[in-house]
Symmetry: C2
Subunit: 434 residues, 2 copies
Amino acid sequence: MKRIVYEAENSLEGRERNRGAVHGMVHTLRDFGDTRFLVLRLPKTMLQCVLPAELSLPEDFCDGAAVRVYGDMRAEERAPGGRELLVSRIEVVSAPSEPMPVPIHKYKMGLSPETELDLRPITLRTARSRAMFRLQEGIVRGFRDALYQEGFTEIHTPKLSMGSAEGGANMFKLPYFGKKAVLAQSPQLYKQMMVGAFERVFEVGPVFRAEKHNTPRHLNEYTSLDFEMGFIESFEDIMAMEEKVLAYIFRLLESEYAAELNALKVQLPDISGGIPSIRFDEAKRLVSEKYSREIRDPFDLEPEEETLISRAVYEETGCELAFVTHYPSKKRPFYAMDDPADSRYTLSFDLLMRGMEITTGGQRIHDYSMQVAKMEKKGLDSQEFEDYLMIHKYGMPPHGGLGLGLERLLMRLVGEKNVRMCALFPRDVSRLRP
Amino acid sequence: MKRIVYEAENSLEGRERNRGAVHGMVHTLRDFGDTRFLVLRLPKTMLQCVLPAELSLPEDFCDGAAVRVYGDMRAEERAPGGRELLVSRIEVVSAPSEPMPVPIHKYKMGLSPETELDLRPITLRTARSRAMFRLQEGIVRGFRDALYQEGFTEIHTPKLSMGSAEGGANMFKLPYFGKKAVLAQSPQLYKQMMVGAFERVFEVGPVFRAEKHNTPRHLNEYTSLDFEMGFIESFEDIMAMEEKVLAYIFRLLESEYAAELNALKVQLPDISGGIPSIRFDEAKRLVSEKYSREIRDPFDLEPEEETLISRAVYEETGCELAFVTHYPSKKRPFYAMDDPADSRYTLSFDLLMRGMEITTGGQRIHDYSMQVAKMEKKGLDSQEFEDYLMIHKYGMPPHGGLGLGLERLLMRLVGEKNVRMCALFPRDVSRLRP
């Protein structure tokens, strides 16, 4: 029997130290006649390599090849990362079988979104895509780390269940060993159950919406950042926690993902003065008056209204984020707690960022009778929610939480117009591949 | 417009300092006549509260109530956490509507697994379950943190796709806007694609297996910890990385989850000397000879063989983990790289822990022609894998990776016999709820 001992030192520095070589993918070769630059794609950065005139390239060297490059590293201000490698030898580790069909070495390839998405396995190799999805990682890391610090426990709830839950019309259905299952459109009921066990919980995971929307802001599968917390005194505790989490995320991006922010020219929103909040009905009125716009749907915000509210709040306060509170009961789910001061409204909120909703949250009902009564009012059969109602029956603290759409937040951060570009492999009404 | 400012200090210390009160759920009241102890369930710990004889309880006080307790904290060696609260006042924040139907304050409730799972929304409140799922969090945290340190990027790949991939027979199928979709049984093909972009990637997410197994070690939905890395020199690089990750996880559990390890009497395996590895065919022979056992299936390990191999390796080396390498090509998927020395075997491995497989991994094919040839040999239509084959066509480094079953690892760690108990809300052939 032998034992494997970990030896590889795979940091860029480690690679150089141990093997006198750097490995990476040939991103592109820039040939200026007298000078040739090889741009090598490393895990997180690009490395500029200078090829001396006398160096002849291996026969199978080309864009897309995996190579090992030997040479001396030297400081060079104008190179990415402030250094470049003066190459003495190149070995091809593996070579592609066909030439790259699109110019992935360009920052903007000039492809249609459809083509870019069809070729996603290779177009994700561009500097722009890499920076986007490094930022996506940063958002998720920040979300989790902030909540760990606040005493939350991470959970993993099932994506397959019996269904009959909220908004069954928008759920994907599938056969499950002779039963009917649905795919979770949110971890809502499960995270509430877990508040009974851990008081504060969060989950990062996929959710599925069988909505027929085909818009630049909807995906049929996306990553939801959810938290739920007990012993709140008001739904504003949840908004305060979201503010804290977002501030943490922005700080993390600034400190650990500065190169990516820079590459994408991202300006982080300033929320140091707190995020302003405005009531739903006031926001409706404000926008209607300020922009001479008729109120067509008194119960929900149209996308254009979100944009205008966001703009109005920005003009008044300088903040690019805005909480809109007290959504109408009619449009909120059965678990939303009504405002005791006016039961036409709920103790809930959305968060708008740069003109678009990125979060929905609120206080939930914790009292058993109140929950059963609200289900009945909404025409739901409380018997079907027997499992869920156990928590109300056997004791729950006042609680609430929220769901934050990862792709939406990334989209607003980098100024991308199509949310599809903020998912590695987006799923929409007509797209199931790659 | 108003701004919400975060004020709540919700750590135990913060609660005491700011409000002179601790809030939590009544886990149980132990009444010894002259002394009464209230056990309060806090997010991560239990707090022992002493109720003076003269203190009368509020009318709606009972097990399961959410309460706010005022008093003085004092050191007490025999109490959990080394302290207890001498109570001066109790307020009920919210009360259950029915008495707790099972004794969740007991460490072992004495329920059948079926009943315990049926009542999961409340049985997850036991000290035992809470400790288990805190450890689950620790495993996931450790996995991620170790890989961040090694330069991996976290990814989120779709769970819905076109299908036609490996082992279609074991995939859940569903209608998707007039198309047919399948649920991912692993992020395999997507994480390989992402190696082309980031060289090193990982994902933590749900996977779905439509297998009819109804055993104590199978779930139809589970959480898979996956990583994939490029520029490996051998599949042993992957094993070495897994060893490093596991060592990191165990250290994290020791330092941050000591109370939970202690509560569950977990002995962490010692892998400081490296994890031994043995070839598949040698392991088969060893077990057959050592335990006088006939080899029935030469291409796969039976569960009993896994147990015996694990035992034999432990007896010889003292290590509770063992890599089994070079699985037969016949039983490994189309992307597995065959051993150039003997193409009946693959450059792959499983990791056994305390008698059970917890990981499958190996080197993948990176060469286009080799991959197409192997697909054809396996009777697959390479045309159906057009998206996947883009990476081989346009350039991939030698690479490989693994998938680690979260619930399986937790199960082996805590010595739980039924994997269902290691998922919050397990899904099996007959269970889709709660």
